[in-house]
């Protein structure tokens, strides 16, 4: 049993941190958020040069076969820097493509940085249930025709291709009959409405009207997309857990610094026990979240599906709770300054709060955890 990161992982994390400190300061990030596209080509080039787009991709696509555990320190650094580039969306999408087993050309383009992906999986009525799909895929000749609307597609308008879930058979809530497609963002009938998110990222509403696709667009087997979606969901949730831990690390440090410098009643406010114990509670939350982010990273690649689901859902519950607690308390400890746009504290709070809602909130994952084998005792045991 070993909880340390290895030398390669450490070197990459160090290089990434140096790059972020230099090229992705809080003020630089703020400027990027307010540009038209909401992302920076220069920053993307930097991430590609560091090897981050290749890291988790399969070797046959020019990647480094990095595991979820390899991604843990990377995502922590990106969380610390509050990165708003379409990195997570692209890597998450690449995971789905890789699970599908085809699309080597596109995976190579992701690895070399020339293609960005986004996952168009959610719908307005679906909340956190990604199998609740009203978008339809109707077989037509060799291919399919897609119709429907996908909502809150992270970095959808910044992507070259979208991964779209659609129903090829069955009822709206069935696990069976879900199909996944790789759709070029500029395909006829695809309409994107881009929007800022409250945490500085971008999300799009994607409307699909009579989008005609060839058979090569299909990811995996027709009607059997749920298994891939479920696996990619766990992978994505594990990455978000790691990102949240990085953001919490930075937010705790910023809050600690504030408590040591802000003076009231003739003393640094960190001398007051009511605030000290709140910090201790935040520290405990963070350490429990860190442990669970490690568990999620260690199990996200597991071929034991029940074990994978159980570990990742437990982690997403615990990390989401910690993210909410640490975020809210950090703002409170910053006083009035905590609710301004000026300090990083509020920006960490917003990102942490949105991570808690992304890819299933705590309640969703608690229910999923309960539904896994291993929660109910074996009768007669």
């Amino acid at each position: 049993m070993d909880f340390t990161i290895n030398q390669d992982q450490q070197q990459l994390a160090d290089a990434l941190r140096r790059w972020l400190d230099k090229e992705y300061s809080f003020e630089q990030r703020r400027a990027i958020i307010h540009t038209g596209s909401g992302i920076s080509q220069q920053a993307w080039a930097g991430l590609v040069e560091l090897g981050l787009t290749a890291l988790p991709l399969p070797g046959e696509a020019g990647g480094f076969d990095g595991t979820a555990a390899d991604m843990l320190p990377v995502m922590q650094e990106l969380g610390r820097a509050l990165l708003v580039e379409p990195y997570f969306a692209t890597i998450w999408g690449a995971r789905l493509l890789a699970l599908g087993g085809a699309h080597q050309a596109q995976l190579q383009q992701v690895a070399d940085g020339s293609l960005r992906l986004a996952c168009a999986l959610g719908e307005r009525q679906a909340r956190h249930d990604l199998h609740d799909i009203a978008t339809t895929a109707v077989a037509s000749g060799e291919g399919f025709v897609l119709d429907g609307e996908k909502t809150v597609v992270l970095h959808g308008a910044q992507a070259g291709s979208l991964i779209v879930s659609a129903r090829s058979s069955g009822n709206q809530l069935d696990l069976d009959g879900v199909s996944l497609f790789l759709v070029p963002a500029d395909a006829p009938g695809v309409m994107l409405r881009d929007c800022r998110t409250i945490d500085g990222q971008r999300a799009a509403t994607v409307t699909l009207v009579q989008v005609v696709l060839g058979s090569e667009a299909l990811i995996g087997t027709v009607g059997k997309g749920w298994e891939l979606l479920d696996a990619a969901l766990d992978y994505g949730a594990a990455l978000l857990c790691a990102e949240a831990v990085g953001a919490m690390d930075a937010l705790l440090a910023a809050t600690l610094e504030y408590l040591k410098t802000r003076q009231q009643f003739g003393a640094p406010i960190g001398k007051f026990q009511a605030l000290q114990h709140r910090m201790a509670d935040m520290f405990i939350h963070l350490e429990q979240a860190r442990s669970m982010a490690m568990l999620a990273a260690g199990k996200a690649d597991s071929t034991d599906v029940a074990e994978r689901r159980r570990a990742v859902s437990a982690a997403k519950v615990r990390v989401s709770q910690a993210a909410t607690f640490v975020g809210q308390q950090a703002v409170q400890l910053h006083g009035g300054m905590g609710v301004t746009d000026e300090l990083p504290a509020a920006h960490y709070f917003k990102r942490l709060s949105m991570i808690a809602l992304t890819l299933g909130d705590a309640q969703h994952h608690l229910e999923r955890f309960i539904a896994q084998p291993g929660f109910l005792p074996v009768q007669g045991a």
């Binding site: 049993m1 555990a69 009768q379």
Partner: protein, 400 residues
């Protein structure tokens, strides 16, 4: 990062499990699993069985009778003992006074006491808290004054766990009143049979006799019973605090209790369905299970940093461990509902069938649980209250 136990560790677990299957007396296991009260001979019996195997003090250096196990193996041992439902090896001798004697005691003290601790020939208790010195332990007032080759000890200790069974007590006593309060404290070993030592029970809210007051009235203690140097006792006490404290999280025990809670909630029904299938109750159990998973990962993370020692991180483990233990007992009581009310101490002592429940198996499970819940409010108070632990976190880790 590799979250798997190694092949050697898994083989070690098998060895431990096989030992427990053959050596744990079923009547002791039953008492532990059903939350009945343990008698002195129950603790001693199990300690001697483990000592005969050579495993009574896994934390000790091999030359004193330790096992040479890694931190992860020690965790596995604790985990398996808890899973099986063994009586605890009480910490006062093996984990508390022994490390201090090893580090600061004389050769005679090591030669005399350590083997006796290892084999449970002496029952030790801890003389730290006083009526006026709880969280502010250093303000203790029990005095030891030199008189020839003896100290004369006067004062009172309190909350002394199982002192009614004890042969020996290790005490913090004041030997210098003229200096800063931390600098006038010494660490003394006192024979409980010495004239002038009186033990008076404190009955707790579950009507159990678990703790005591210990009075010292002109008790003559040989100078040879001083550990280390006079007036250095506070340093030794602090050394003890940072020593091998991952066990403080009680993860293994809580895992067994979680399994018990789930069995209980499958037996209990709400409107004809097992309570554990009730979404609201299941959510509470699942939340607690996730907290326990997080704590176990944290304990393993701390344990795997072998050599560094848990240090102030032990405070975090204590806070979370105690809170989880309390929440488990709270959910057990919630699970049994009104069955929590009947109270029968004779049943808890193992002397009689339950007067209300008779031989109803479900009620048998339920009978001790309210007492257990009330008793376990102690876990966030003892061993440094959780508020004191948060002070340690803010000062030692966060530097506030």
């Amino acid at each position: 990062m590799d979250l798997h136990y190694s092949t050697e560790d898994n083989a070690f677990r098998d060895t431990v499990r096989a030992f427990l299957e053959t050596h744990l007396p079923p009547e002791l296991q039953r008492k532990v699993r059903l939350h009945l009260r343990l008698a002195r001979e129950d603790y001693v019996r199990w300690h001697k069985i483990v000592a005969a195997q050579g495993w009574a003090a896994p934390n000790w250096p091999v030359e004193h009778g330790g096992t040479g196990w890694s931190a992860i193996q020690r965790h596995i041992w604790e985990d398996e003992c808890a899973r099986a439902g063994t009586p605890p090896i009480l910490p006062f001798g093996v984990n508390m006074v022994a490390p201090v004697i090893m580090a600061f005691g004389s050769e005679q003290q090591k030669a005399h006491y350590l083997p006796r601790i290892l084999h449970c020939d002496d029952w030790w208790c801890q003389g730290y808290s006083e009526p006026g010195a709880g969280s502010d332990l250093a303000s203790l007032k029990t005095t030891a004054v030199r008189d020839g080759d003896h100290y004369i000890v006067n004062g009172q200790k309190t909350w002394t766990t199982l002192a009614q069974h004890a042969d020996m007590i290790f005490c913090l006593v004041r030997t210098d009143t003229a200096v800063r309060k931390q600098e006038g404290i010494s660490f003394l070993l006192i024979d409980m049979k010495t004239p002038g030592v009186t033990v008076r029970p404190i009955i707790m809210l579950d009507e159990d006799h678990e703790v005591n007051e210990v009075f010292f009235d002109n008790v003559r203690v040989p100078l040879a019973n001083l550990v280390g140097q006079e007036n250095r006792g506070w340093t030794y006490a602090k050394y003890l605090l940072g020593h091998e404290r991952t066990g403080i999280a009680a993860v293994g025990r809580s895992k067994r209790e979680l399994a018990f809670l789930k069995q209980l909630a499958m037996q209990q029904h709400k409107r004809g369905e097992p309570l554990l299938r009730d979404p609201a109750f299941a959510a509470k159990v699942a939340s607690l299970e996730i907290e326990l998973m997080a704590l176990e990962m944290t304990v393993l993370r701390v344990a795997s940093e072998e050599g560094k020692g848990p240090g102030p991180q032990a405070s975090m483990l204590k806070v979370r461990g105690s809170e989880i233990q309390q929440q488990l007992t709270e959910l057990m009581v919630e699970a049994i509902g009104p069955q929590a009310l009947p109270f029968d101490p004779a049943y808890l002592d193992g002397d009689a069938p339950h007067s209300a429940a008779g031989d109803d198996l479900t009620a048998d499970l339920a009978a001790p649980l309210a007492a257990y819940y009330f008793n376990y409010r102690k876990t966030s108070i003892y061993g440094g209250s959780n508020e004191i632990q948060k002070n340690i976190i803010t000062q030692m880790i966060l530097g506030l």
